[in-house]
Point group: D3
Chain length 326, copies 6
Amino acid sequence: MPRFDAPAAEVREYRPEVAEPADFDAFWRSTLAESRALAAAPRLTRVESPLTSVEVYDVEFSGFAGDPVRGWFMVPVGTDGPLPTIVEFIGYGGGRGLPHERLPWVSSGYAYFLMDTRGQGSAWGTGGGTPDPHGTGPSFPGFMTRGIEHHDGYYYRRVFTDAALAIDALRSLDRVDADRVAVCGGSQGGGIAIAAAGLSKGLVGVMPDVPFLCNFERAVGMTDRDPYFEIVRYLSVHRDAAERVFETLSYFDGVNFAKRAVAPAFFSVAMMDPVCPPSTVYAARNHWGASADIVEYAFNEHEGGAGVHWPQQAAWLAERLVPQAA
Amino acid sequence: MPRFDAPAAEVREYRPEVAEPADFDAFWRSTLAESRALAAAPRLTRVESPLTSVEVYDVEFSGFAGDPVRGWFMVPVGTDGPLPTIVEFIGYGGGRGLPHERLPWVSSGYAYFLMDTRGQGSAWGTGGGTPDPHGTGPSFPGFMTRGIEHHDGYYYRRVFTDAALAIDALRSLDRVDADRVAVCGGSQGGGIAIAAAGLSKGLVGVMPDVPFLCNFERAVGMTDRDPYFEIVRYLSVHRDAAERVFETLSYFDGVNFAKRAVAPAFFSVAMMDPVCPPSTVYAARNHWGASADIVEYAFNEHEGGAGVHWPQQAAWLAERLVPQAA
Amino acid sequence: MPRFDAPAAEVREYRPEVAEPADFDAFWRSTLAESRALAAAPRLTRVESPLTSVEVYDVEFSGFAGDPVRGWFMVPVGTDGPLPTIVEFIGYGGGRGLPHERLPWVSSGYAYFLMDTRGQGSAWGTGGGTPDPHGTGPSFPGFMTRGIEHHDGYYYRRVFTDAALAIDALRSLDRVDADRVAVCGGSQGGGIAIAAAGLSKGLVGVMPDVPFLCNFERAVGMTDRDPYFEIVRYLSVHRDAAERVFETLSYFDGVNFAKRAVAPAFFSVAMMDPVCPPSTVYAARNHWGASADIVEYAFNEHEGGAGVHWPQQAAWLAERLVPQAA
Amino acid sequence: MPRFDAPAAEVREYRPEVAEPADFDAFWRSTLAESRALAAAPRLTRVESPLTSVEVYDVEFSGFAGDPVRGWFMVPVGTDGPLPTIVEFIGYGGGRGLPHERLPWVSSGYAYFLMDTRGQGSAWGTGGGTPDPHGTGPSFPGFMTRGIEHHDGYYYRRVFTDAALAIDALRSLDRVDADRVAVCGGSQGGGIAIAAAGLSKGLVGVMPDVPFLCNFERAVGMTDRDPYFEIVRYLSVHRDAAERVFETLSYFDGVNFAKRAVAPAFFSVAMMDPVCPPSTVYAARNHWGASADIVEYAFNEHEGGAGVHWPQQAAWLAERLVPQAA
Amino acid sequence: MPRFDAPAAEVREYRPEVAEPADFDAFWRSTLAESRALAAAPRLTRVESPLTSVEVYDVEFSGFAGDPVRGWFMVPVGTDGPLPTIVEFIGYGGGRGLPHERLPWVSSGYAYFLMDTRGQGSAWGTGGGTPDPHGTGPSFPGFMTRGIEHHDGYYYRRVFTDAALAIDALRSLDRVDADRVAVCGGSQGGGIAIAAAGLSKGLVGVMPDVPFLCNFERAVGMTDRDPYFEIVRYLSVHRDAAERVFETLSYFDGVNFAKRAVAPAFFSVAMMDPVCPPSTVYAARNHWGASADIVEYAFNEHEGGAGVHWPQQAAWLAERLVPQAA
Amino acid sequence: MPRFDAPAAEVREYRPEVAEPADFDAFWRSTLAESRALAAAPRLTRVESPLTSVEVYDVEFSGFAGDPVRGWFMVPVGTDGPLPTIVEFIGYGGGRGLPHERLPWVSSGYAYFLMDTRGQGSAWGTGGGTPDPHGTGPSFPGFMTRGIEHHDGYYYRRVFTDAALAIDALRSLDRVDADRVAVCGGSQGGGIAIAAAGLSKGLVGVMPDVPFLCNFERAVGMTDRDPYFEIVRYLSVHRDAAERVFETLSYFDGVNFAKRAVAPAFFSVAMMDPVCPPSTVYAARNHWGASADIVEYAFNEHEGGAGVHWPQQAAWLAERLVPQAA
């Protein structure tokens, strides 16, 4: 697909007004409080695998409404004590798959946690293991419009809560250095990381790649690629729902979380990305509440930096973890 | 798409062995019994519309697990007493929409009921009004793989139960002649009609058009069109699930319901249909437990007979409703 | 397809200069006069159908050059005397099909006429019954470029004349209230309705949905969807024909008919419509010679409002038909 | 597109039974007789062009029903007297275009005539100049279904008659050696050449490339590429028309003309051709009434041999034109 | 594809700043000098063909680095002495094919030479006969990115040198009037013609049609059609290469050759061309160093004027060749 | 894409006759001997990376004709002495990318080498670093047809030689246990692994996934997906080249290498794979010269087992490496 967003110079400065509900903070405060009240301690089960340099644990922690959520937790063999820790969230449709598919961080001295996305994990990759035990109103195939008629029942309320509680759960582990937790993810995973950065305090870094779930008013209708287009398709059937739908989405817009972020961020953006248009990524980055670096991939679509980006993340994060001279 | 199924002569004779679980009847008996035990009387609300020749009612009846399910009930103005009644089920992704979109039967002297499909109604048309308040395991976008790992939690367990209970509910209405109820539907609606014919007794006719949900072992992988292809996509991620998935599907295969049908049937099939391949339609028709007429549309894809078919249905059904001379 | 036209605010104000031939009125005056001189009285034949609440008539009336044109005329059973009457025109490629496919208006107390489109009726639906007995110069497959090198031989000269003479013919029927005739149609049918509104006097309302055939200078080349694109394809072969072709089209541009309309209008427009771009719809609406309401469907493509729109039309028209207090 | 027809060995032997109407010969005899009775002498107009080695004439001759049909006639500069002559027919949708586009034969010592296809010439290339002054019943966009409900009004009745009368007209010219006329053409042009070979006597050779219009019963529905697929689309709307349509087509099937051919033939066929499937080409070749050579292009789609084939045609024909030793 | 470039009025005036390396002239001077030093005299071999009005020669001349390059040379039978001569370059992926495919110029009194494009000639048409005996670094499939990391090894350095040396070689032939050589070509052939016009002196005319290889900074990323998109794909993998790649391309940009051209030009441009966007064509034309006429094809994509354009070229060139009155 | 190959039962037994040149062994013997004679010792350069559990080396070894070929060599930190070693080859179009993208084997106690594919590495992923310094005849874009007219110059002669010499080079390293080297790869990488298994002795295991480059006579034309389709495209232009091309390919057919393999194999195959059709994979597996296990992925396309397959490979290989009890 050719370049289609505004010229690069405009995109870089794009910082839109985004609808923000008056009770945004109250909504999330009570949402988290309710689920935290239902949370049990995470359960870790050691998993055998061919990997000899990594210890692998199957984790089950309490997410939204106390629902069990799965993930992989890995630590390097031959280390002990609390480690700086990475929490990663997954792209749309994917599941946590298998541990050997996600080795770079744990091979670099970090504890690493990969959170399953409830209900997802059947569209690509090697599967997910977390159901979403909540029903839904009429929805377009996919996850974007489940419960979209009201913020209380919207699917991402559950997912973002899972993310915040994953961080809680990890911090309770003795192999995790609670003060040195960073979050990351690509696409949907980047959107969840942004939400986590708005909901969780004390993160050491936030690394969203080509993030999804930002600036819905612009994104919905600007591209005909899923998953944003799922919302267009829903609205094309529910022709009177636009106001309600965008009100719901305002509780979940990455821009509103970005404003509340206090940890430094390291974004990536792909300037020809038809799935997560670059201006919508800049919308979140330019509203970020703390320092926010960004790497542009000028000729990439949604694959963005792919493997080229991780070493840059590793370098950026390493610098944040070094004790600063007084 | 060109012709792709077996030659027409073979297709017409196709009558495959289809896996049937030993507890098929027990499963459905207990499923229906449990939900019937939870059913309340249907609630009808008169709806204003521009239509002057039709009375329209918004219906809410108790479906699976007592869940409220919606539908439109219409009777011709100027009639009274019990009428022969049509129950129609809807194609995949659609909802009940608006009453004026479905006028032929009620304009021909019938009472008419259109059942919403829970959770659906957001992919085309003018919307649905029935949520599906049950969660799901990891699933591919769409409805085909929700709960597909076990027959107890499979989505179509709920939908088929809704269909059987819709017939129960209608028969309780004074404008419905309980002995003269026929069911129909196209595509998914045809598949539901077949299931209803296997689950409900005393129907006067069953009219499935280009029905879906028949002969899964052949259909899954034979075509790359959704919704059958959703199952392929699920299995392509959950590479070890095929046995479990096909076991689940065996409880929902139209062929197994067809064997149990006792009401006469009037099928249609499109010989170039890439969505519901013609041989899978003949699989159900050739296993039908009673007389089963069929109209072939030789050069059509999934649109089948479209508007050309309804007059033939109307004629076929009229003949079934005429009191037979002794 | 994503949004592609100008921003909504611009689209709504779009009111272009459109080429208008000096002899536009003379051309149409003589065209209609010549065909009216050849017109015979319409012939109505009662048709049997399963419908019990509707009387159906197969109509043949005299269109352009006295050519026989077909249509369905329906009146509600149990009414008599002149009724307010709807005339509907059909979308590109379709034919009049079967009567039971078009029941809402006649189920709401109106007499209803559906005009076949000459030569069309073989691309979708259930068929048409009206030949176009006039040959054509070299043309691109389809109807858009038949005779496009001169306005005298252009295909739509015949179709628009058919439309005007359909209204004449209907007004001669005793079940039609000649003072309360409204026209409607979607896509091509909307374009024909606009032309009819420019050519026929005394209409009570005009209801074009996502109309085609408006503002050719903008539409041709703005979209690559047929049927506008048929003209691009023709011009890509006949590289010297652009001036002649656009001169021809200026006699048939909906904008030029809109300027001449005297009846109130009720438009619909789909803001993501790649077939009939929204600005070209607003071009006609913003030039309308009388009051012109419009409903926007913000997230729809060419399906526009579909079934959601008819109740709004019915309400709008009902208001126009109520005798006004003095 | 991958190989899709039967295995090559089967394709080469394929010689199907094809429906042949009892009055096939009578129909064509009377058709030609009627049009010949209306024929005027061809008119040639010398055309200026940059070409210095070729004399170019714009020809108008009398085709079906005396309708004027155009073509280009070219002879090499510096020759005189009667020359062996090639008549070429054009592929679907194209027109005669411009003389400099067709130089090989005339640059090789032949007189050359290119016949325009009535009504066509607007889909690709540089245009056609021959209208089709006959109207049509409801038809699918394109030419395949114009008048297809009866053989008297079918479009190709006119085209094939044009072809036969083109040969008549040419033979009347003093630069044409009437005993040494050969016909050729690709795709539709090949189909017309086959028809001409069945209708005209005394041809010295027939060279159809990847011919269209052969073995309709197999071709219609075997491929989803136009133009065969136009017939499928027509039948998908006119669901009751198949018998009539195939009866019509039996008067125009290349196989029935092939049986009647008495001139030697030189075919080409592309074994991966999705437009004119190779078995349908062999159907005509294997029924040919005289010797019929064929060149197979094993890895080509509808482009067939393209420029590689002409030298082979030239060599084949040259051999046919050499006076045989006694 | 719909119109997508800037509005026509802007496109016509578009005259961008284009990066030009300081050593552009030095680079090309030394490149040509080195290859000229290695050049042997061209070898012509008379080829038999069915053509009787044309003498055909298979030519091998020394291109870049003395590599043998092939071409067809044709002169009209019956002429002698030096003739005005056309040199044509070929579109992307094609080869010189067969002589009878390119007859118009030689049938109009010109000597004609068609240069093969090294390594190409296997993507369409009837083949090429010239290898490219130089290896390449990692490249995207195709020719656009072979050696693109440095101008010394870039593929088009070899091709453009071939073009300049083709002109040298031709001028050494006694049938070629060295003062009346013109160059032409479409798409890539047009781009090569422009380069030749910048590298060779004394041409009588330059006729680029819908030329490729102009204004890379705009073209790369503006369209998603190959071959420009090959560069995007390369850059999407080699994410750090953009600066190097565009530096390389600046040595090969048609705009930089256009500035240096001294022969009059006759361009064509297609205003809906998604392969060679019209603004990039105007970029070269508006920078042309001499008079530069242009013909616009308003409704064409990359096919441009096709056969309609050649007569205009022939007329334009004829005028340039007429001796001017003193 | 739906299932398209023969029925599974047939596919599993498929063991075709495949053309084998008489001098197959001689050709490869001399090819390897010549290149081995030019080989220098491999050069390893330690590379810094964020990885703390892996030592990474950039390797340059001598491949075909002594050409330098690159790769990554990795060993687990904290090990010493010779390790069992995996050599992996890469899928079509990809390059070696970055070390952290390939961690599973080295995280499981193996030394690991990833060989770059000369000339490739620009179509997906994060790039390659090995040029192919050999020119080519006319070729279709891509690598499949470079030099395909003769086996001496065919591209894969160089690649397969690189693979054999990579194994030589690795065995010379002190961290590699020369008796415990296994090869693997997916798609093209699987095809190279098969070739390596036919050319190198003493391998402990061969693990080809959905391998490409097997049974060309069947594959070429059976699918329209690249890269096999590149050969079809080449043959569609070079219409006389089929015999030469298939003779060339017979020197490179995986089936002929499979016959010569002496190490045990562990294949995977995807039963809906349109890129490497399953029967062509079974062709190699069923001709394998030693034991050959295979895992079928019934509902996968070319992604095959993806991450699900590696643990099975690891288990299979571990069993092969365990010292067997006497």
